[in-house]
């Protein structure tokens, strides 16, 4: 029963990556039997700075944020709702301890897949290379857009772009984190919201 639920969660991930129809069922089965499903409460830390975690994170349910501290201020780097997948790049590819934290902002189900496990599975099912490739590709494009947005967009445009990605984000994520993510002050965010409500 649990396995069936996990299969649903995984299928949802592959659908959001656009690769569901290119992974054969037996490869899916193999991944499901190796994937860990971790459950977290709101405000739990999924990863703490300094942890070693060479794995992929798939947000099955809920929403998480990646943040770090700089000059005693928390900076929100990534806000990832269900359907998002990511590694902590410095851990996964450079074997370094995490330089950021991952926090659950809602009750969450996180699927994780160890690097070595995936590599082992890839030997038997080469199609699984698509998982890594599609996530990296999406992550790259996402970061490129984020740079462009931060450089050239007004606070209002940045907020609109975020809403397009994560509708109703402020019902799920404290506005302080959203402001930090957008690189604007909480006051600016609240002005932008007030202006939108009036429209």
């Amino acid at each position: 029963m649990q396995k069936l639920l996990n299969m649903d969660l995984l299928l949802f991930q592959f659908q959001s990556l656009g690769i569901a129809d290119r992974i054969p069922p037996e490869a899916m089965e193999a991944v499901v039997s190796h994937i860990e499903v971790e459950e977290y409460n709101k405000r739990d830390l999924i990863v703490k700075k300094g942890d070693i975690c060479t794995k992929w994170f798939f947000v099955g349910e809920g929403i998480v944020r990646v943040f770090f501290e700089k000059n005693n201020t928390e900076i929100t780097d990534l806000i990832a709702p269900e359907g998002w997948a990511f590694p902590l790049v410095e851990c996964y590819y450079e074997n370094m301890p995490a330089n950021a934290n991952i926090e659950a902002l809602e009750p969450c189900k996180i699927l994780t897949l160890e690097k070595d496990t995936l590599l082992g599975l890839q030997k038997k099912y080469p199609e699984l290379a698509l998982i890594t490739r599609s996530i990296l590709k999406r992550f790259l494009t996402y970061n490129q857009h984020r740079v462009d947005s931060l450089m050239f967009e007004t606070a209002e445009e940045k907020y609109d772009r975020l809403l397009a990605n994560i509708p109703k984000i402020l019902l799920r994520v404290p506005s302080l984190y959203v402001a930090s993510f957008l690189g604007i002050t909480p006051e600016t965010l609240s002005r932008v919201r007030a202006k939108k409500t009036k429209k």
Binding site: T73, E94, A129, V147, L150, M151, F152
Partner: protein, 200 residues
């Protein structure tokens, strides 16, 4: 087979991504698919609207990726000896590029066609991991830039790019550097003045 590719240099420069752990057979296959090209100052390695079909490694030289935003020339990044570059969205999605790649100083470049990169990844699991590490490095570069844009001052941003290419200010125009930092040339000149005074 030998097309004057400086293999020793690549093995050393990309050790960080695990190139030195690739079996000889894989390395031979990899190097044999590379093409060496020489480019002059102001040449465009990639034009606007062209599809980026090569993964480029610059052995020597200087180049920049840039784009036009409402007609204004905006530098995305400056790349020195040993850097690699692609126009991200164009390369991965096989679509026309909004980014251009310009040679700023005479350059020797090793090109690996996209199709060969994918074939190598499909053929050797070790190579796939190596390529992933390189791509992940670009993700890291973009993330650092995001962090800087979120909160850093123009001065902190300039210090960061000078870590990558220390003599950048002597090598490219200050207008290009200003557009990279997202500031006006006047602000850049104030920032440089402050830095110079501090370093005295």
């Amino acid at each position: 087979m030998d097309k004057n590719i400086d293999k020793e240099y690549l093995l050393n420069r990309y050790k960080h991504f695990g190139i030195d752990k690739l079996p000889q057979e894989v390395l031979d296959d990899y190097f044999s698919r590379m093409k060496v090209v020489k480019k002059k100052r102001h040449d465009l390695l990639l034009k606007e609207g062209e599809v980026c079909t090569n993964f480029a490694i610059m052995r020597t030289g200087l180049m920049r990726i840039f784009h036009y935003k409402k007609g204004k020339d905006i530098s995305d990044v400056f790349l020195g000896d040993g850097s690699f570059c692609v126009s991200i969205e164009s390369f991965f999605n096989e679509e026309p590029s909004d980014r251009l790649i310009e040679i700023l100083e005479p350059a020797e470049i090793y090109l690996l066609p996209r199709k060969d990169l994918i074939e190598l990844c499909d053929k050797y699991l070790e190579f796939d991991l190596f390529a992933q590490s390189m791509i992940a490095f670009v993700v890291g570069v973009l993330q650092r830039k995001v962090e800087l844009l979120q909160f850093a001052t123009a001065e902190e941003r300039l210090e960061m790019i000078l870590q990558d290419v220390p003599d950048l200010m002597q090598r490219v125009s200050s207008v290009q550097v200003a557009s990279y930092l997202g500031v006006t040339p006047e602000t850049l000149s104030r920032v440089r003045g402050r830095m110079a005074r501090r370093n005295e």
